[in-house]
């Protein structure tokens, strides 16, 4: 019973915190002629927010060692053709 009350209070607290937050970021996935959505079984509003924020992988050039190696290799191929 105590656990249920704690969980309920936590859910209310999270709802208040979320409502006070800024608007959600834009949808990262392209929509084209149809919309692809991923379900979010977690009822927590923070999870619902996070569910809209997936990346499509395009941030790779900024961080991934392997992808940056690929980009450098392509640039060097271009250099030989300039």
């Amino acid at each position: 019973m105590r656990h249920l009350i704690t969980t309920a209070v936590a859910a209310i607290a999270l709802s208040v915190l979320w409502a006070g937050g800024s608007a959600l970021a834009g949808d990262p996935a392209p929509t084209g002629e149809g919309v692809c959505e991923i379900a979010c079984p977690n009822h927590c509003p923070l999870a619902k927010s996070a569910n809209e924020l997936r990346t499509n992988g395009s941030e790779a050039v900024a961080s991934s060692t392997v992808v940056r190696d690929d980009v450098r290799r392509e640039a060097l191929v271009g250099l030989a053709r300039i």
Binding site: V61, S64, V66, V67
Partner: protein, 298 residues
């Protein structure tokens, strides 16, 4: 992975050395050093050498043009697209018929979200070299940015045909396929990348993306983890892993899954991830967990 880069750098060096020598040419050794620095990721050093080479030579000199091109590429990798654009416009001015030059300029423009100008440059690149997979890829990415998804799909399919299994082409291609609800198409592309490049993080990451849309979240999480095992610096994989573990853990009943999710968020931010809304979510999760711990201790 570094070995092929050094091979490419060596080939460029040999090409430069075998190029016809002219009295006004700078010694190719400087561009060799710049090329090796670039190949090894020492971008500041590459920029410095290219600056020395370019300032000592007239604009129409071959070494000057190569120095501008390489410095422009280094600037792009350093996240300085405006500086890259200046250099690459210089390259295009001297190499009007070069698809490579127009492509590089297109990328610099796209990085600044100058999408109309980027499209113009990249269409020129594609017209000059109809078999360039990279030019088609870059054009496809710009068309996605302009929300011309049908055209993007056509162009990226061409890029894929010219360079099948290429991880960097697969990223925007899977994006478009999922946008058209073609989960099977996305899965096929991801698996093709994994088959050709099993040690590359992007194939596994894209498989994870497609599996999430297919409702297979556990397999998706495993795929993201496989991507991280290939390259722990791939921030995108940490981000999506954090989100899938977070969103599938209803009311955080699974403590171990919650811990894995928080660790993945932390690693994403450590790697420079700066999605502000996600930072807000993470910070509020941290506050919530601290509050919960305090309540449990009472």
């Amino acid at each position: 992975m570094r070995f092929p880069l050094l091979i490419a750098a060596a080939l460029v060096g040999v090409t430069l050395l075998l190029a016809p020598a002219r009295a006004e040419d700078a010694p190719p050794a400087d561009m060799n050093a710049a090329t090796v620095a670039f190949a090894e990721g020492r971008l500041d050093e590459c920029v410095k050498i290219c600056s020395e080479v370019s300032t000592s030579l007239p604009a129409d000199n071959d070494e000057h043009v190569r120095a501008l091109y390489l410095r422009g590429q280094a600037y792009l990798l350093q996240g300085k697209p405006a500086e890259a654009e200046t250099d690459l416009r210089g390259v295009v001015a001297e190499r009007k018929k070069s698809a490579v030059a127009h492509e590089a300029l297109g990328r610099a423009l796209a990085a600044q979200r100058k999408n109309d100008d980027a499209e113009t440059s990249l269409r020129t690149a594609v017209d000059l070299d109809k078999k360039s997979a990279t030019a088609h890829r870059a054009l496809g990415e710009v068309l996605i940015a302009k929300q011309s998804y049908s055209d993007a799909r056509t162009v990226l399919a061409k890029a894929w045909k010219l360079g099948p299994g290429d991880p960097l082409t697969a990223i925007p291609l899977v994006d478009v396929e999922l946008g058209y609800k073609s989960v099977k198409g996305a899965l096929k592309i991801a698996r093709a990348v994994i088959k050709k490049h099993p040690e590359h993080p992007v194939g596994h990451f894209l498989l994870g993306r497609a599996l999430e849309y297919d409702g297979e979240w556990k397999d998706a999480a495993a795929a993201y983890e496989a991507s991280i095992a290939c390259d722990d610096t791939y921030a995108d994989a940490h981000k999506n892993l954090a989100i899938v573990l977070h969103t599938q853990n209803d009311m955080y009943r699974d403590r171990e899954m919650l811990d894995r999710s928080m660790k993945a968020y932390e690693r994403y931010f450590e790697l420079g991830g700066n999605e502000p809304e996600l930072r807000r979510v993470y910070d509020q999760m941290v506050a919530f967990l601290a509050w919960q711990k305090e309540e449990a201790g009472k």
